[in-house]
């Protein structure tokens, strides 16, 4: 298994001092969960995990380390590398202090979808096995297989993985071939179609209804790898853009501001939506902004270190609606 080949590499990198610690995945509380694992000592490698539930984007922990001199290793998937690109471009981390170890990934499983399947079919699942086409649940009554279309995160069907020169080491170079988009020519903005067809009034009602569920736990903000302001605008002591309550109008301000603040930085990793306990469709907001930026400026976050965010530079050819 892949985790068995991951372990000796991390062990070696720790031993020869290339890194001080490694951000990786560990065994979670349930069979469908993993837990971010910070490995400082080789003994901690016994908890190492790599499977299709390794959806968390570990690069968010690089935000915290931006002021330390530690050399950090990170287990990354193709999509996670994009966040690293933005963190480097935003001067949040020092490329020299980073070791990126990329594992081949052909899609991650949405635990929410798995839970629903399990619940509806009243299965008592004790574990799972990965198959080429998805997963097999192991139950007392036998094995039940599910297709990846049923359980993968939707972003995984649209994976546009391309090898990145930032990566220090690929775990399995031959397998890189398999890191191809799951669907040929996917519609990247499929989720937006319904909302874009709404008239402004309907759209406003739609979002107000969604935002009204927000409990202001700030998980969407905290988990985001590119939400890296040392003091968030909503945490400033002497201003009160929003109160601590959950007034609907303030929820609107919070979510729209959050989305706008990460525009041109958001790489679409989907962590904000994944962690939301109230299932707000936050990626619909982010995707819309990604789409607008793409169409107006032909810019995509996380692609390379050279291109500059259109919000950070002025060009004569910039879109100008006042012309």
């Amino acid at each position: 298994m892949k985790k068995n080949s991951l372990s000796p590499i991390i062990k070696e990198l720790l031993k020869n001092g290339t890194v001080n610690y490694f951000l990786a995945y560990g065994k979670g509380s349930f069979w469908f969960k993993v837990r971010p694992l910070i490995i400082r000592e080789p003994v901690e490698l016994k908890n190492l995990e790599w499977n299709r539930f390794c959806y968390p984007n570990l690069t968010t922990y690089l935000k915290d380390s931006s002021r330390s001199q530690d050399k950090i290793g990170v287990v990354v998937k193709g999509c996670d590398v994009k966040s690293v690109v933005e963190l480097i471009k935003g001067n949040q981390i020092d490329r020299e202090n980073l070791f990126l170890l990329q594992v081949p990934c052909d899609g991650t499983v949405d635990p929410g979808k798995v839970e629903n399947l399990v619940w509806i079919s009243k299965l008592k699942v004790t574990g799972f096995e990965e198959t080429g086409n998805g997963l097999e649940f192991i139950t007392k009554e036998g094995r039940v297989s599910v297709n990846k279309e049923e359980v993968f995160f939707s972003k995984c069907y649209k994976c546009d993985f391309a090898p990145s020169p930032l990566v220090d080491r690929y775990l399995d170079e031959e397998r890189l071939e398999k890191n191809q988009p799951s669907i040929d020519n996917p519609d990247l903005y499929e989720e937006l179609r319904i909302i874009e067809e709404m008239n402004p009034e309907k759209r406003s009602i739609y979002w107000e209804k969604q935002f009204s569920r927000c409990i202001r736990c700030f998980a969407c903000r905290n988990v985001c790898p590119v939400c890296y302001c040392p003091t968030c605008v909503f945490d400033q002591k002497d201003t009160s853009w929003i109160s601590k309550g959950v007034k609907p109008e303030e929820n609107n301000i919070f979510h729209l501001t959050r989305a706008l603040h990460v525009a041109t930085l958001c790489t679409g990793c989907g962590e904000c939506e994944r962690v939301c306990p109230m299932k707000l469709p936050l990626m619909e907001l982010n995707l819309k902004l990604i789409k607008e930026v793409d169409e107006l400026y032909h810019y995509k976050a996380g692609v390379d270190l050279q291109s500059i965010s259109p919000l950070k530079e002025y060009g004569k050819d910039d879109y100008d609606e006042f012309k």
């Binding site: 509380s29 837990r35 971010p36 619940w119 998980a219 962690v275 299932k279």
Partner: protein, 353 residues
């Protein structure tokens, strides 16, 4: 380990049957007299929401995402209004006068109310919370399929069996077995008695059977009954740092917890009037203990994570002789980085109190 309603004396009604075909009629009948809340699903999220005619009970729900405390201690609640003119004319928020029925509360969440009662009934009584408690009739619904994250049995809860509510419902498939647990429950059943039929001995036995089957389905997250932990002596343990280092510092664990009760009080003002409100707050937020002077006794994540667990497992016990956890599993299920309270209990479990 529970301090439940003390009015469950002299209930004379034997167990009843509510046929599912009459269920919607049952809800409609309640709605005519009471405010009614039921678990319903919208946009994929099941919450306890106010019932309006035709709403359906959420079919696929293990438990509601937000704990039941929201109905007694809302996330945001106006305490009083005032005018900004000379005498301020403080205007107390009106208390509930009409009774309300909350349908479909799970056994773990019912237990959580008895823990919140300890806080809000102690010393100076919290009129806002107690008024809502007084005016609520709770219909508990036993679980039939516990989740991977459930561990209520470690806190003395029988997941299939409702105690501490006013009425207990057990899902028998095509029917509900209805047991009346309090005088309030009796009054509700009397109000719409024609909807029920008498339960036969075999219905009753079937209910017991389902309840014990549910228990068998419980995952064994904690090996046994959770005991109060003498965590104070582990205050300086390096385990806290290990637990905290992946914490994102969000409020999910505390806001979804049925026993968390921390809040903040603030004012909001307009030109000539204003209101004072309270809202949930979270010890996981860095500004929770930030003082005006700039001093913050819990400046790091380690201290905040430690506070959350110590409060639940140790401090609350020292004050009220109960552990402030009911094993609902929400914190563990929803934590984005899988910080697991049962792991904490496991790490320190060797030392009982």
């Amino acid at each position: 380990m529970t301090t439940m309603n003390s009015n469950n004396l002299s209930i004379n009604i034997p167990p009843l049957i509510l046929k599912k075909e009459y269920f919607q009629g049952f809800l409609e009948a309640i709605k005519d007299k009471y405010e009614l809340y039921i678990p319903s699903e919208e946009d994929g999220v099941t919450l306890i929401r106010e019932y309006s005619s035709g709403d359906k009970l959420s079919e696929n729900y293990f438990n509601v995402s937000l704990p039941i405390r929201n109905l007694f201690f809302p996330q945001e609640e106006i305490l009083f209004k005032f005018s900004l003119k000379e005498n301020y004319n403080l205007e107390e928020k009106e208390m509930l006068s009409r009774e309300r029925v909350i349908f479909g509360v799970r056994p773990c969440d019912i237990l959580s109310l008895s823990l919140l009662d300890l806080v809000f009934e102690s010393e100076k009584k919290d009129s806002y919370y107690l008024n809502k408690r007084d005016k609520s009739i709770i219909i508990g619904l036993g679980c039939v399929a516990p989740q991977e994250s459930c561990f209520c049995t470690s806190f003395g809860v029988e997941p299939g069996k409702v105690i501490g509510a006013d009425i207990s419902l057990t899902d028998l498939g095509e029917n509900y077995l209805v047991e009346i647990l309090s005088l309030k429950g009796e009054s509700l059943v009397n109000y719409c008695s024609s909807i029920f039929s008498k339960a036969e001995e075999r219905d009753f036995l079937r209910g017991k059977n389902i309840q014990s089957k549910t228990r068998e389905l419980m995952p064994s997250r904690l090996e046994s009954e959770a005991k109060p932990l003498n965590l104070e002596k582990y205050f300086e343990s390096p385990e806290w740092q290990k637990l905290a280092e992946t914490c994102l510092g969000c409020g999910i664990c505390t806001y979804l917890c049925p026993t968390c009760h921390c809040f903040d009080i603030s004012d909001k003002r307009w030109l000539e009037e204003g209101q004072r409100f309270r809202c949930w707050d979270s010890c996981m937020f860095s500004d929770f203990t930030l003082m005006t002077s700039g001093h913050n006794p819990r400046i790091n994540k380690k201290e905040r994570v430690r506070q959350r667990f110590m409060h639940k497992l140790s401090y609350f016990y020292n004050r009220f002789s109960e552990i402030a956890c009911v094993g609902c599993g929400r914190c563990l299920k929803y934590c984005p980085v899988d910080i697991d309270i049962t792991r904490v209990i496991g790490v320190f479990k060797d030392e009982g109190k």
